[in-house]
């Protein structure tokens, strides 16, 4: 390691310093430009608390849905090799690279009143647009690939002999999944959950396009920040500060619970 000196070593340090400064400066500026008094003052405002509460509620429900459906789905993708698997993986990951506004347009075209499934949804009394349920749908759509991807990687990284042993000892697939798979892949699953939660917490475009923006119903914290930006910049900064703090706490919490390297990429046991 010590032989890394010379110009290349200097270039590495330089690049890291540039990246670090670039990535931390805007977040630091949020805290430097908003005094603690502003922060508390803006939280006193009912609209701000509504937005934060709605964000926590909607992201919580979305995360529960993602974990409940995503974990078994990721298990299947990690443990079975079937024809078209690569295609399925690609399709599941597609929302990662789709612009959020496109996601919103797509959700409207699929689930909106005049969308593909509009009529059956209406007959079932499922109204999504302009409803908190619509926010949950938008968050789930954009955030679930983050979880499924990480969960699949975590399951794939499990020691195959461990799963084999479980099966040879007569455990059913369900039991192997619940008793061996999930506990051993837990750090990776938590990391995936944190990534998905963070993404859901920051969601803006898909929510605005699909669900709209109304305080207390569909206006999540990022939408409230955007609205404040025009007439109350310090309010926008303060609400941003809270969001940064909450997101940072999620990240830190997961790192502490699941040990270092949990968010370090595919290697769940890393």
């Amino acid at each position: 390691m010590k032989r890394r000196g010379g110009w290349f070593g200097a270039a590495l340090v330089g690049c890291l310093a540039v990246a670090l400064a670039f990535l931390t400066l805007p977040l630091a500026a949020i805290f430097l430009q908003s005094s603690p008094g502003d922060l508390l003052g803006s939280l006193d405002e009912p609209g701000a608390l509504d937005a934060l509460g709605l964000s926590l509620q909607a992201t919580g429900i979305a995360l529960a849905l993602i974990v409940a459906v995503g974990t078994p789905a990721a298990w299947l993708l990690a443990t079975r090799h079937f024809r078209g698997r690569a295609l399925v993986v690609t399709l599941v990951e597609l929302p990662l690279v789709v612009p959020p506004a496109v996601a919103g347009v797509g959700l409207l075209a699929a689930l909106g009143p005049s969308g593909l499934l509009g009529e059956p949804l209406e007959r079932a009394g499922l109204d999504l647009v302009f409803q908190t349920a619509g926010v949950v749908v938008a968050l789930t759509f954009v955030a679930s690939p983050f979880y499924i991807r990480q969960a699949q990687a975590a399951f794939s990284a499990l020691d195959p002999t461990l799963l084999e042993a479980s099966r040879t000892l007569g455990a059913s697939e369900a039991r192997t999944f619940a008793r061996i798979g999930v506990p051993n892949a837990l750090p990776g699953l938590l990391a995936g959950g944190a990534l998905a939660w963070g993404r859901a917490l920051g969601e803006f475009g898909a929510t605005l396009v699909f669900a709209g923006s109304l305080s207390g119903v569909t206006q999540t914290a990022p939408l409230a920040i955007y609205e404040r930006f025009s007439d109350d910049f310090s309010g926008a900064l303060a609400l941003s500060a809270v969001l940064v703090a909450v997101s940072g706490a999620i990240l830190l919490g997961v790192k502490l619970v699941s040990g270092p390297g949990a968010l370090g990429g595919a290697g769940a046991r890393g």
Binding site: F8, A11, C15, L108, A109, G112, P113, S114, G115, G118, V129, F130, L208, V209, A211, G212, S213, L214, S215, V217, T218, Q219, Y226, E227, F229, S230, D231, F233
Partner: protein, 260 residues
């Protein structure tokens, strides 16, 4: 193996140089054909793009968003050359704050009830108070939202409250309202007549009675510290008479309402 990261860094550096060089090239090009940056209300999109193609003194680039968001950007130190808003309040405020030069009023517009073309449930303002109707309007502070609240505020109190209770989304600009109507997500909205004209395949307009019509005026100003103040002034001149004015008329804008 050892050569790889070096080559990657070299490629990265080359890429960076290309990007930076590219930016520099743009600036150089700007010397003969100045680039005019115009921050304009979303409702001006069609008219200004049309005008921009005919505007000769400079290559016009547009930044369309809600007038209030654009004003907030200017307050934060962003310096487009021209700021055009869907009211006169925001340019006047910026003028008082020393952020723009003296604004001029260059166009008028009419607020209308907009509804999706297909299901024709809405035929007038009374329908907006019907329980269960889904209404999308501009957020507070966005001119189209403020005008909408002005119209609703002129209704008897119980009716006004019933209409406001039907508001299901407060959109950051007219584009959001048009989108929700075109998708049939909202049953009605309050928009400018020019927005409806631009989206006439999906959306239809229902006129408001004259006595309820708010005075919709568009203000425009040269931003202080503009990089191209001369081209900015010519852009505004063209809006008052010339290619800009003609583009505005084609898009359905009216002359500014006579000052009282």
């Amino acid at each position: 193996m050892r050569a790889r990261p070096v080559r990657a860094v070299a490629a990265l550096a080359a890429g960076l140089a290309l990007v930076l060089g590219g930016c520099g090239g743009d600036e150089g090009e700007g010397a003969d054909a100045p680039r005019l940056t115009v921050s304009a209300a979303t409702s001006l999109t069609n008219a200004f793009e049309d005008y921009g193609e005919r505007f000769e003194p400079a290559t016009a680039r547009f930044n369309f968003a809600g007038s209030d968001e654009l004003a907030a950007q200017i307050r934060q130190g962003v310096k487009p050359d021209v700021y055009a808003a869907a009211n006169t309040k925001l340019p006047d405020q910026l003028f008082e704050e020393g952020k723009v030069e003296k604004p001029v009023t260059f166009a008028g517009n009419r607020l209308v009830i907009a509804a999706p073309r297909d299901p024709g449930e809405v035929s007038g303002l009374d329908d907006l108070a019907k329980p269960g109707l889904k209404l999308a309007i501009g957020a507070e502070g966005v001119p189209v939202g403020d005008y909408a609240r002005e119209v609703i505020g002129r209704q008897p109190e119980t009716k006004a409250r019933a209409i406001l209770a039907n508001v299901r989304s407060e959109e950051p600009d007219v584009g959001g309202v048009v989108g929700k109507l075109a998708q049939g997500a909202a049953d009605a909205g309050l928009l400018y007549i020019t927005d409806v004209t631009a989206a006439k395949d999906d959306v239809r307009a229902i006129e408001l009675p004259d006595e309820l019509q708010p005075s919709v005026e568009y203000g425009v100003a040269v931003v202080k510290g503009a990089k191209e103040p001369e081209a900015a002034r010519r852009f505004i001149d063209g809006l008052l008479e010339g290619a800009g004015l003609r583009a505005m008329r084609r898009a359905g804008f009216e002359p500014p309402p006579a000052s009282p």
